[in-house]
Symmetry: C2
Subunit: 655 residues, 2 copies
Amino acid sequence: MPRTRSAPLATGPVGLSPGARAALLPASVEVSAGFWHIRREVNASTSIPQGPGLLESAGNLHNLRVAAGSEQGEYRGAFPFVDSDVYKWLEAASWQLAQSAPGEGGPETRRLAGEVERIISLVVQAQRSDGYLNTWFQVRHGGERYQDLRWGHELYCAGHLMQAAVAHHRATGGEELLDVARRFADHIDSVFGPPGSGKPIDGIDGHPEVETALVELYRETGERRYLDLAGYFVDRYGHGLLGGEAYCQDRVPVRSATNVEGHAVRQLYLLAGAADLAAETGDTELLAASERLWQAMTTTKTHITGGLGAHHDEEDFGDPFELPNERAYCETCAAIASIHWSWRMALLTGQARYSDLIERTLYNGFLAGVSLDGESWLYVNPLQVRDGHTDPGGDQSARRTRWFRCACCPPNVMRLLAGLEHYLSSTDGQGLQIHQYVTGRYSGDLDGGTAVAVSSRTDYPWHGAITLTVEATPADRPWTLSLRIPQWCREYRVRCGNRTYDQSDAPVKDGWLRLKRAWVPGDQVVLELGLEPRLTAADPRVDAVRGCVAIERGPLVYCLEQVDHPGGGLDDIVIDPVRPLAVKDRPDLLGGVTVVVAAGRRRQLPATGWWPYRSPDAATDPVPPAGEPVELTAIPYYAWANRQDGSMRVWLPTF
Amino acid sequence: MPRTRSAPLATGPVGLSPGARAALLPASVEVSAGFWHIRREVNASTSIPQGPGLLESAGNLHNLRVAAGSEQGEYRGAFPFVDSDVYKWLEAASWQLAQSAPGEGGPETRRLAGEVERIISLVVQAQRSDGYLNTWFQVRHGGERYQDLRWGHELYCAGHLMQAAVAHHRATGGEELLDVARRFADHIDSVFGPPGSGKPIDGIDGHPEVETALVELYRETGERRYLDLAGYFVDRYGHGLLGGEAYCQDRVPVRSATNVEGHAVRQLYLLAGAADLAAETGDTELLAASERLWQAMTTTKTHITGGLGAHHDEEDFGDPFELPNERAYCETCAAIASIHWSWRMALLTGQARYSDLIERTLYNGFLAGVSLDGESWLYVNPLQVRDGHTDPGGDQSARRTRWFRCACCPPNVMRLLAGLEHYLSSTDGQGLQIHQYVTGRYSGDLDGGTAVAVSSRTDYPWHGAITLTVEATPADRPWTLSLRIPQWCREYRVRCGNRTYDQSDAPVKDGWLRLKRAWVPGDQVVLELGLEPRLTAADPRVDAVRGCVAIERGPLVYCLEQVDHPGGGLDDIVIDPVRPLAVKDRPDLLGGVTVVVAAGRRRQLPATGWWPYRSPDAATDPVPPAGEPVELTAIPYYAWANRQDGSMRVWLPTF
């Protein structure tokens, strides 16, 4: 059960307050090399620095200047929520600035700090004297407020402003943006409240987000009203205030819902807020709802990549086990929101499965959203692109795009990558938990404030060995180093001092290998996770992939791309599931990847008539069909769509 | 090859002009009993009479009165094309009135004629003096015209007006609506034309429809300008006039397209227009394009029900072999448009396969669109509703709805059913072709005007025997009675005089059983089509149904409904494909149907964890899984969603 204890000053997202009921507290990690370090370097050197220019060309900064009265013109952008792109970029830049101590860092850091200050000053100037701030309504609608809660996104944008302000404050100590956020939060608190509260509006925003943000603002400021306001909002969903649509999370209250539904990002931000509230208030009903919905989501509505959202139409979750491939929506923002929610659940409960899903999502459904060079993006992340695909272009394209009309995803990727070190490790007062394996240094405090630290060297996920070295430890106090044994892992070995365990005898419970020792600096633990490539099938109710397998290796889901299979497309390819898989390190390919090689065939296609439905003898007979043998080369899913356009598939037919 | 000969005065849709190059001409059929007679009686007694009331409540008639200045008020309806609902109803009512000679028929016919006159007078009064007519632009936009060709639907509505006017003229001889249509067509012709024509606008409508309508108007009036205008419009698609979107058919010109794409109804109405043009102008390139696109559509983008359109988003065709079940869009209007196009292709080419598709579509993808009582409708026609389905309600609901916000489908169903007798038979000058089997009387003229007629008795599709009796024939001139042997039919027998043929020796070529005789009145031909129920599988590239079979019998596709399978849902059901199927006549059920009974099981589901993806041993092994035996009762797909809500599926897993 969650328990109460005091938290240190937060340095990253989810800065649990001293009174929070959570099993774990986020711990610090310095990521210094390896897979995620490379991705974060690209984020720091390319994606984030390009942000202000893109926000300028798209009109977001123009809108702020027009709202401030310092520039003339019309509102630019097709949607009412473009302010949030600015706030998400500010949050990303703040976490990036937090990598260096204030005033330190090289010229790039100083330039970034300058850009942040410049853009914060635009935000400051755009804010109304009573705290309100939304350029869509200020510029386009003559200042009319809260007239379209279903679609106006005012509180949604306010939420992203609060998160940016908290990040900036935690990263730099700067108060200016935090003051803007507080004034807006105070304004919202003066307007919104339950019937009988004397507040003018009993309402919620069509897009949840302000709830989790208000809890963070409470954590940063200690202002209890923000927590109460978040609680009010979370509980007002599902009562028809917005017309009762599932899309807006208004069909069923969170507390009584039995599965995730409606717009995936809305659902997941709302649940992140619910989990935050459960942590800060000890609301066990909300915690139980959040656990129940997470279980329902993972068992019935999650793609193998961790991607979420089955419908292009309304960006919705589908029905249970409705998990299409070519029309998987899997919005990049939904993957991010899932990580936000799961991380809160991991802290609340201490259970490893939440970090299992985070790992899967990070390496697959999330990371596919950004190109290897950090300059282009996917909004939707399908699991299949067919031969003969007609691409619609625009935001829903299966081709990477420089920026979107609805540009929610790119700065969302930036902020998660920039703050990623805060999602990797935790402390429970009795030791350190390693949730995700990186090269770097994990550190935290035991109860009483004693510092512990472990350095780590690994080439994960390409190789399975992780060498952990104790760097700081109390001399006389045993503590527990907990290593997450990933849910996908069938075979592993761990060497700790002169003991060696494997999957048959390791002290693993609920996904955690717990090593309790009186540690001495220099003590080594070597974990070797078996990375044999494997084939994976789905629950038989996932109709979309019946008779198919996916290739996986470690936390990575693999896919075929047409470019690696000259001489044809991919829709006539079958894999032979009984032939062994091989791996090949390809430092030359896609920034350096390990590919998986499998045996397949190009099937002989049925004679062409005009009707593709026929007697079932062949089609229900799963003997691998005849056809020319083909060597199948699978690349990690996250790296797809970085070469020439063409078909792609994750799930491979066996017949 | 199509050839030129003279056509009689048209009495139904597709009234080919005397100079048309078509292999066949539509012939007359009186449908007097049986399956389609029952459906048409419901259409005549319930659906069509309820139309004016529904058009009144939805505001369509109000809009006409406001446009005429006889009533005050705002435009009602969410879309710019609601006038077309009125026109489609007028067309339906006109074909219905054509069932009786003018001035004859009972009180219901007189009431219907009165309603038609009343509504025509609203249309007459709403028309501007220069011929323009569109209430959306007249009422809402202060009369601004052609400002939004992509979405305004002005020419689309004009097309439906023309079709209604032609139908009314053919049915009653009435000139009033035809005059409205001519004035509007003349106005359009004065505005739209190619660069250099001196016409102010070089443009097309975002929703094709006016093209096929203009050809019909040409046929009815002899005005060549209408045909030329249709040709101009058809060839201006695909050149970026609307921004180049596939949705609007503007990505690729018809003549160079290689597959159907974009919004399904738009694509199919455009192709009906292209086929009309090919018939009237002898344009062989357009004919070749239409044949090529039809072949591509049927082989790669058609659901087993004849349904078309794989995407909810934009109501689009998907990629080749992208044929989802739960998200099959299969708009009822797309099935209707497919029948329109295929019938034109059948007439142009004389090939039976076009009527094979028409049969499949009529009995399945089309007919599911209207409830058995004729009072409620489906806009989308999915092939699966999952256990735990969260229904969105509204137009895209999987529950039948009394009327839609976008009410294009109901009056479209009405007009096809009311004029259905014109899609069943043809003459080629040397004989009579029976495309679809009904109880009634088929008649037509041989070259030179000699009348031939055949009466027919059948309980098709429930029973396979069709008894045809020659009623009118020249005494001394042999002619050919051609019977379509359906593409689905494996075994049949035909008795003609004292000869009996079966599938081994019947004179069948290209789907036509051709019986050339010197007929005598009273001669009988008895065709028996084998109606053994069968299992059907799909091309292996249709990933959505790998490892599944569908149950079919005759032209009917079957489905399971949850209500017939108490004790659980349908998502855990598997069919045993090697056990025999049985049929059972159920006069008590769904207006009288034959059900198919199959052996199945409720599978033992995998133990619940939190992750539904696992080692593939079980899932790729197609041995029927263990589980409790269940008798599966399949009903015809067209009759689904006429009882209580619940899950449904057409494609049944075999493992």
